[in-house]
């Protein structure tokens, strides 16, 4: 029996609407994806467009990997902090590398009364992060955990689901096996912040997004 033209078979397959195409999953049916994973807008249109949730994945852990502190990583979460603090929700900062400077946050429109800073001793840091993520009392947890392993990230991701909290981990090292829902690498140059999507659950795209930094 002669086999049909392979291209024809492919075309027939592609014509089938029941076919699930991983690479275009979120682009094909964003409303469907959104109903499963509601996203919180990042405040950057270019970034929203390249993420399957059209924003930060809610109730999930996001890893932001930067070579150095001060590469624009705070600007990335600033619109989110502004939104949640104005809605009356709190954000917890667990062991930040420096104490955040109140005038800068205030002039960016963040309600600093809703920012709570937790500075545990280094051996208590992971406990503090997990406890904060598990609790539904705060909407966002920003954490600078220091040394991490894949096992820790898995635990923290589960804590996010339990507490329905938006968690951000900031660190320097790329960890091979990470269970975080979204992983971004952030690198800055003079005028812009370049974000590389290392992993976004539910999508196979590895976009590179360039966000212009606010001129100073």
């Amino acid at each position: 029996m002669p086999s049909p033209n392979p291209n024809k078979r492919l075309a027939a397959l592609l014509a089938n609407t029941n076919l699930w195409r991983a690479s275009e999953h979120h682009l094909a049916a964003p409303q469907q994806v959104n109903s499963h994973y509601p996203g919180a807008p990042t405040g950057f249109a270019a970034l929203d467009a390249s993420l399957p949730w059209r924003g930060w994945p809610a109730n999930a852990l996001t890893e932001i990997i930067t070579p150095l502190w001060g590469a624009g990583e705070l600007q990335l979460v600033l619109p989110l902090l502004r939104d949640i603090s104005q809605q009356g929700h709190s954000a917890l900062w667990v062991s930040p590398p420096c104490i955040p400077y109140a005038p800068a946050l205030a002039s960016a429109g963040v309600d600093i009364a809703r920012m709570i800073i937790v500075t545990p001793q280094s051996h208590q840091t992971l406990w503090g992060i997990e406890r904060a993520l598990q609790s539904s009392a705060c909407a966002v947890v920003l954490a600078w955990p220091g040394k991490l392993s894949g096992k820790h990230i898995r635990r923290l991701q589960l804590a996010c689901v339990t507490g329905q909290t938006l968690g951000f981990l900031f660190h320097h090292r790329y960890i091979r096996h990470s269970n975080a829902v979204l992983r971004l690498r952030a690198e800055a140059d003079d005028s812009a912040l370049t974000l590389t999507v290392l992993k976004a659950r539910g999508s196979h795209r590895h976009d590179r997004v360039r966000l212009p930094l606010e001129p100073l």
Binding site: G70, C98, Y101, P103, I116, A132
Partner: protein, 481 residues
């Protein structure tokens, strides 16, 4: 009836020449003819009590112990002064079966207490329808029992004026006027009394006679909770202690619920066989009486501390309470939307973090109206101060998100400033000069610089000591993250 003369009445004979018997003299009608509305106040005077230091905490404690003892005889007990007490007995006459039984019980109670403190057992007491008259009679050493208000005037007539709580000057005035007992006062024309001796004196007399209301503060015993568990063996494992703690917290919650209270500070003591007890203090940000919440905090705290040794018992003590305010959920919702404190739901989490990490580990930042950059932001332990909302409206100048606690001295490499890589100035300068009235004057030129890693840095050039160029160094003060 008790016919043995008590020590108290013997001492009374020795000190005062007022004719009294061992028993109270019944001055008027028997009890069954009294009208029901009349009150009856028992007053006790303990002169040896004022001799001891009256302000010390030991004295206050003794006073409280006496008041506690008296409250077994009456529901209304008053500490009238440092050495005198009064309590209402009309309502408990039937219960104890007459005034004589109350007197016997009172003497027994007070003698036991005074003996335990090794004080002489001198007790002066009197009963009348008004607290002021009872106190006056007790202090005058008249061991009297007056049932009816109408007989008070006659009974008080023989009281010497020197026994009244008056100033020395007043007493001398009475003495010089030839007035020695209260009856002498009542013989004078009443409209002149106020002018001659003052309104306060008249009011006191009226209160004694029951013409004027005399509200007295009632003594309420301070609430405290203390409960203990002990066992025969020593427990080393912290997890094994939890059921015991749970039992104690359960008792506490029942205690709190029956009294409509919430605890604000807990103290848990672990007892050891050969060591000092381990203390575990728990301060609550918000008063609580929820079993689960208290248990969670105690467990967290317990995991953070170390026990000296295996414990053979524990005791939970609570001395600080707050009345429970029962806000309805609807009202709370209104409060949250109207922009008042919506911290309530995050407080339990912060309390838990503080319990494990220490109070200083949970912090808040606060704006301050200061020109000097490092003073414009304040970093405080949570709960120490409520953040104030200062609005910086005109500040359009850029400020970094991270401010270094101490400015870092910037090195120069090949004539260029260096931080990870050589720096390039982006904008500036912004001159900040302030605190010239202090020794540590601030005179700086701030610039924004960037390096090849894309970091944007807030650096300043120290202008202090312009005469010596060596001192004019560059510092890194913040990072625009």
């Amino acid at each position: 009836m008790n016919s043995r003369p008590s020590q108290a009445s013997l001492a009374l004979h020795a000190l005062h020449a007022v004719p009294t018997s061992k028993r109270l003299i019944k001055h008027d009608m028997p009890a069954r003819q009294r009208s029901k509305q009349e009150t009856l106040w028992y007053a006790v005077w303990l002169p040896q009590f004022s001799a001891s230091s009256s302000e010390s905490s030991a004295h206050l404690e003794r006073q409280q112990q006496i008041a506690e003892a008296l409250s077994t005889l009456s529901a209304t007990v008053t500490i009238a002064s440092v050495d005198s007490f009064s309590f209402e007995v009309a309502s408990s006459l039937n219960y104890f079966g007459g005034i004589d039984n109350i007197r016997t019980r009172l003497i027994n109670l007070l003698t036991a207490l005074l003996d335990s403190w090794q004080l002489p057992t001198q007790i002066y007491h009197a009963v009348s329808p008004t607290p002021a008259a009872s106190l006056l009679m007790a202090k005058a050493g008249c061991n009297l029992l007056v049932y009816r208000k109408s007989n008070l005037r006659a009974a008080l007539g023989r009281i010497p004026l020197q026994a009244l709580p008056l100033s020395k000057k007043k007493k001398r005035q009475f003495h010089n006027s030839g007035l020695s007992i209260l009856r002498d006062i009542w013989r004078l024309p009443s409209h002149q009394l106020g002018q001659r001796f003052g309104r306060d004196f008249l009011k006191h007399l009226d209160q004694c006679l029951g013409h004027v209301a005399n509200p007295v503060p009632t003594y309420t015993s301070p609430v405290q909770f203390s409960s203990e568990l002990e066992w025969d063996f020593s427990i080393e494992n912290k997890q094994a202690l939890l059921p015991g703690i749970e039992e104690l917290v359960e008792r506490l919650c029942v205690f709190l619920q029956t009294r409509e209270l919430a605890a604000t500070r807990l103290c848990l003591r672990f007892l050891h066989a050969h060591h000092e007890p381990t203390l575990l203090h728990l301060d609550l940000r918000q008063a609580s009486r929820q079993h689960a919440h208290l248990m969670l905090l105690l467990e967290t705290r317990l995991n953070a501390i170390g026990l000296h040794a295996g414990s053979v018992g524990m005791r939970l003590e609570v001395k600080h309470f707050q009345a429970v305010s029962l806000n309805s959920a609807a009202l709370k919702g209104i409060a949250a939307t109207s922009g008042t404190d919506a911290d309530d739901n995050i407080l339990p989490l912060l309390e838990e973090l503080q319990a494990r990490l220490g109070n200083a580990a949970v912090r808040r930042i606060q704006l301050r109206d200061e020109h000097c950059p490092e003073l414009a932001s304040q970093d405080l332990p949570f709960g120490e101060a409520k953040p104030t909302y200062t609005v910086h409206s005109d500040k359009k100048t850029a400020r970094p998100f991270w401010l270094l606690a101490q400015p870092v001295h910037l090195q120069k490499s090949e004539g260029r400033l260096f931080y990870h890589s050589s720096l390039r100035l982006v904008s500036g300068p912004e001159r900040i000069e302030t605190h010239w009235w202090k020794k540590q004057e601030v005179k700086r030129d701030y610039y924004i610089a960037s390096n090849r890693q894309g970091m944007r840095l807030w650096i300043f050039h120290e202008r202090q000591g312009a005469a010596e160029p060596a001192k004019q160094a560059w510092y890194l003060h913040g990072i625009f993250a």
